[in-house]
Subunit: 325 residues, 2 copies
């Protein structure tokens, strides 16, 4: 799906507050920006063909071997590369609702959907629901499917246990997808990586082409590994998210689902999320994610990422005003 995702801020004028992507909107990205300013001359040469130095840095950080790591131009490239590489397995399934690209990638490579699909896709923590799945559920999927692909893009935004790459690479049929830019709140950069057992990574690398990552992305990735991330106090941020969910759920006409991460899935009991989105964008300069196009969700569903306490209050007030109309 090319259109219809969140963070479609380029379509609107005058957006002041962006709750539409699951990225912390108040991050201070200046250390990375300053670092890149010093390294822009790297674009004068071809990048390393396979981003080897970045994969080595990721492996060192995770205490695994570079043979267990494949750097990608964002988690989305990872999803399509996995679907492409494993296409001879022909069947898939997804734990819905979930990020739409798993299904799209499989359909692009002519997979059939099947309850016992050879490829099983799980988003953990789950976009858009905010759930974090139990280890026992993941174990049961590993037993049932030829490959389990777990998209852990939001793993840095939860206090719940999520399987580490070091544990994950011990499973022969587990593929973990990681985002490098969620943690630092720079989704415009396009940077992620896959971790898996050596034979799986070798198979995936055999399906790649040279110079997939720009010199800037490689440089940025190495810098990001040395930093703390965008959110200074994760406990406080997740506490604010719980408060946001509680207050949204208290509104007449709205249901806000429990969340274990930094965003909240909501449902208007009446009316369409697209109308709420238009109202907030035009009247309040606030952007939310109309979530009605997630499979298994409906017209009233929308998703908001948590921001600062003050911004969250503005969001709640804006929604309140819409509901009173």
């Amino acid at each position: 799906m090319i259109e219809g995702h969140g963070d479609d801020i380029f379509k609107y004028e005058g957006i002041r507050l962006n709750f539409s992507s699951n990225v912390y909107p108040k991050a201070d990205i200046s250390p990375l920006v300053e670092h890149l300013k010093e390294h822009l001359n790297s674009i004068k040469n071809y990048p390393e063909p396979s981003a080897k130095s970045l994969e080595e840095a990721i492996a060192a950080k995770l205490d695994i071997s570079p043979e267990n790591v494949l750097a990608t131009a964002g988690a989305t490239e990872a999803i399509y590369l996995i679907a492409q590489t494993l296409r001879s397995w022909q069947t898939f399934n997804v734990k819905y609702p979930a990020f739409s690209e798993y299904e799209d990638a499989c359909r692009l490579y002519s997979y059939r959907e099947d309850v016992l699909g050879n490829l099983m896709w799980l988003c953990n923590p789950c976009n858009p629901t905010g759930e974090v799945f139990e280890q026992s559920y993941i174990e049961s999927l590993l037993q049932k499917h030829r490959y389990l692909i777990v998209d852990q893009s939001y793993e840095d935004y939860t206090n719940e246990p999520v399987m580490t790459p070091k544990e994950g690479i011990k499973r022969v049929n587990l593929i973990q997808i990681h985002s490098m830019t969620k943690k630092y709140a720079v989704p415009g950069l396009r940077l992620g990586y896959i971790t898996a057992a050596v034979p799986v990574i070798r198979l995936l690398k055999g399906n790649t082409y040279p110079w997939r990552l720009s010199s800037i992305a490689i440089e940025a990735g190495k810098f990001l590994l040395s930093t703390q991330g965008a959110v200074r106090d994760m406990t406080e941020y997740l506490r604010q998210t719980q408060k946001l969910r509680f207050e949204l759920n208290a509104l007449e006409g709205l249901e806000a689902y429990p969340t274990k991460t930094n965003f909240v899935l909501c449902r208007l009991k009446e009316g369409k999320a697209s109308d709420l989105k238009e109202f907030l964008a035009k009247e309040k300069g606030i952007l939310i994610r109309d979530a009605s196009n997630f499979r298994n969700l409906y017209a009233g569903h929308f998703r908001v990422a948590s921001s600062t306490e003050q911004d969250n209050i503005e969001l709640i007030e804006g929604i309140k005003e819409y509901l009173k109309k």
Copy 2:
């Protein structure tokens, strides 16, 4: 092929002069670098999912419709996307010798090689030979094959006529690949585009995924379209290239092939290009492209891009010294 391309400068220490990629090595990239410094904050948001604004800018520059344009993360992504999209056509052919990725991309998607392949790949101007093909030859290929894919990455580095996108999009079975970073000598950026008739572009776009280009790449692309390119005086640069070829060809023990672009394919009459490459890298700080891994070329073949007159002289002197050993 991940390893074995040119510009493997990251493998060596102390390289002063880089003739190994076909990119003008003395370009002043500071206007782009300064522009990007001002726009690095764009990484804070997701990029446009399909790089629409960049495609519109490319189309405006070429005087064609955005529906005839697909922006890519470099010419190499374009090659793999084409092979992926058209894989049901099953057979291919390449005018050899040529950039190895056409063949690799087709093999990745299980095409069979066949003289009358449904997909025909042509590199024009040709890497590594420096040839520019006659229009009549291109017409004959358009008649013979279901799709003709012409990689025009070096189109800005020749005085010979090369088909423009405006002409090209009139042919229903022609796909033209363009590089945006060769002209400006910033291969680390990864930016290119495809032009073709509307139904072909639509088919290709249906095989893409969102956010393939970073915010930085999109911003850089729009800036590059407004600039003149890396080489101030193309006539003089190509004249220097002819002089380089003439002087290399005059060396005992060396053949330098005629060229219509900014690089020269050469053949050692005895010995291996890999030995020459090692000698120049280690003794002279000069990097050349060992071209022996191009199909239809042999152990003695190497390729050099033309640089400034002074640097070209240093290259010739270095090779002369090796040949005297």
